[in-house]
């Protein structure tokens, strides 16, 4: 058994909220470079150029990449041999978000109640996903999620007879409808299988996968590649102003499902696909 002070969770999450909102991970930066090289539309190239310059300014002057610094989505993969001390883990996570968003000059975009809509003024609470894994470490992923793209995400409860073609069409439908609203070039996270809520979780989790890494399942890898190509033939382009680069990656996660169902969730992320990962 290993003892982990919850204060350590707070400290790390605070830093990770600030880090994720000012610096993209290296795989995303490389993806941008490839996008600039491939884009044919002059306006599209201008948009991509602005976005690259934007990333430089964000890191240099510590101005958030996007003013929508998101709702903080936190994945905690907790080793089953870990024992937490010093208070509640949930409180520790939220304290980290509170400190990160307040001290890091990040926008507070969370309302206390979905209908009464009063701002909580510190961007709490986070959306926290816990999972238990073997070992004595805690893997923390902080993925601030902007809502321009979140609003364009979809769940489709397909029939088994819809098959792989139905799944592909559902994904293309979601991207087509998202169009310029989701701040393309996008990253498309997809969950296939499980139940209604499981496929949504799989899609969200898929967005935290390195955009240069394909699925280990051969048919899923093929589908990721084929869909990226098809999405980039939709013509939406950077900023939705026309062009070849509409998405930078399609990441698909799958899970066993029921004999009667084929759930598909498409979680769309803008080009500011933020995530910071640390293991403590």
């Amino acid at each position: 058994m290993r003892i982990v002070e919850v204060a350590k969770i707070t400290e790390n999450i605070k830093e990770m909220c600030i880090e994720a909102n000012h610096f993209l991970s290296r795989d995303m930066e490389e993806c941008f470079q490839r996008a600039v090289e491939k884009e044919e539309s002059p306006l599209g190239r201008q948009v991509l150029g602005q976005l690259q310059e934007n990333l430089e300014i964000a890191g240099r002057d510590m101005i958030p990449i996007c003013q929508d610094t998101g709702m903080a989505v936190v994945f905690l993969e907790v080793g089953q041999d870990v024992h937490f001390e010093g208070g509640s883990v949930e409180d520790a996570v939220n304290e980290g978000v509170r400190q990160g968003y307040t001290e890091g000059f990040l926008r507070k975009s969370v309302v206390k109640d979905p209908l009464i809509r009063e701002n909580t003024r510190d961007n709490t609470p986070a959306v926290i996903h816990y999972s238990l894994v073997p070992g004595d470490e805690v893997k923390i992923t902080v993925a601030p999620k902007g809502f321009g793209s979140e609003n364009m995400s979809r769940i489709f409860m397909l029939k088994p007879a819809d098959g792989i073609e139905g799944v592909k069409e559902a994904i293309l439908t979601a991207v087509r409808e998202a169009g310029p609203n989701a701040c393309p070039p996008m990253v498309v996270g997809v969950g296939i299988g499980g139940t209604f809520e499981k496929c949504a979780f799989l899609a969200k989790k898929a967005l935290t996968r390195d955009v240069g890494v394909r699925s280990e399942i051969p048919y899923v890898k093929e589908m990721e590649e084929e869909l990226l190509e098809k999405i980039n033939r939709l013509g939406i382009g950077p900023g939705g102003l026309g062009g070849r680069i509409t998405a930078m990656a399609v990441n698909i996660n799958t899970y066993p499902t029921h004999i009667a169902g084929l759930p598909v969730a498409v979680n769309i992320c803008c080009h500011v696909n933020r995530h910071a990962v640390r293991t403590i």
Binding site: P64, C66, R117, G179
Partner: protein
């Protein structure tokens, strides 16, 4: 085509703008997003005046991140315009001439743009750090309690936007996509 215009907008300048133009705006613009639009609508319904006269003006759909010391504003990119579609036609009929946001608009908004000789610009979504540097000053003029959603008066210099819907009814989101579609 690159163009430079000043805000508030002049009618003859708006007439010359075409979907696809890359435009640099210098002058005064105002911010308002969801919650501010809701309050402005309530004010109009109650027969009260708006926090600023919309005539000839441009509304930027934007809620910034907090400013660091010594800076006028934090990250300041556009938010999705469609959430303001319910309110935009009434404001356009009152004389609003320009909107800056991102994403699609309804047919009602497009009709109101044409009817009133107005224009809808897109700023590049997710370029908030770059765009913040073109904002020279920012002052909250109404609804301070809304935080990021308060109405701000901005002085901008060479603020880069793209004409999406012009006063003739052209829509770049529709035409540009067709040019590159290979389905």
């Amino acid at each position: 085509m690159d163009k430079h215009i000043t805000a508030p907008l002049k009618e003859d300048e708006i007439k010359d703008l075409r979907a696809g133009d890359y435009v640099f705006i210098t002058g005064t613009i105002y911010t308002a997003r969801d919650a501010a639009h809701k309050r402005m609508k309530e004010a109009l319904d109650a027969g009260e005046s708006l926090p600023f006269d919309v005539k000839g003006n441009v509304i930027y759909y934007m809620g910034p991140s907090p400013a660091r010391e010594g800076r006028p504003i934090g990250s300041a990119g556009p938010t999705t315009a469609s959430r303001m579609d319910r309110y935009a036609p009434e404001l356009l009929d009152l004389g609003l001439k320009g909107m800056i946001g991102k994403g699609k608009r309804t047919q009602e908004v497009r009709d109101a743009i044409v009817r009133n000789g107005a224009v809808y610009f897109a700023a590049v979504g997710g370029a908030g750090a770059l765009l913040s540097q073109r904002i020279k000053s920012a002052e909250v003029i109404a609804y301070d309690d809304l935080g990021a959603e308060a109405v701000r008066k901005l002085e901008v210099e060479d603020f880069p936007v793209i004409v999406v819907m012009d006063s003739q009814g052209n829509n770049l989101y529709e035409t540009a996509v067709l040019e590159y579609r290979q389905e």
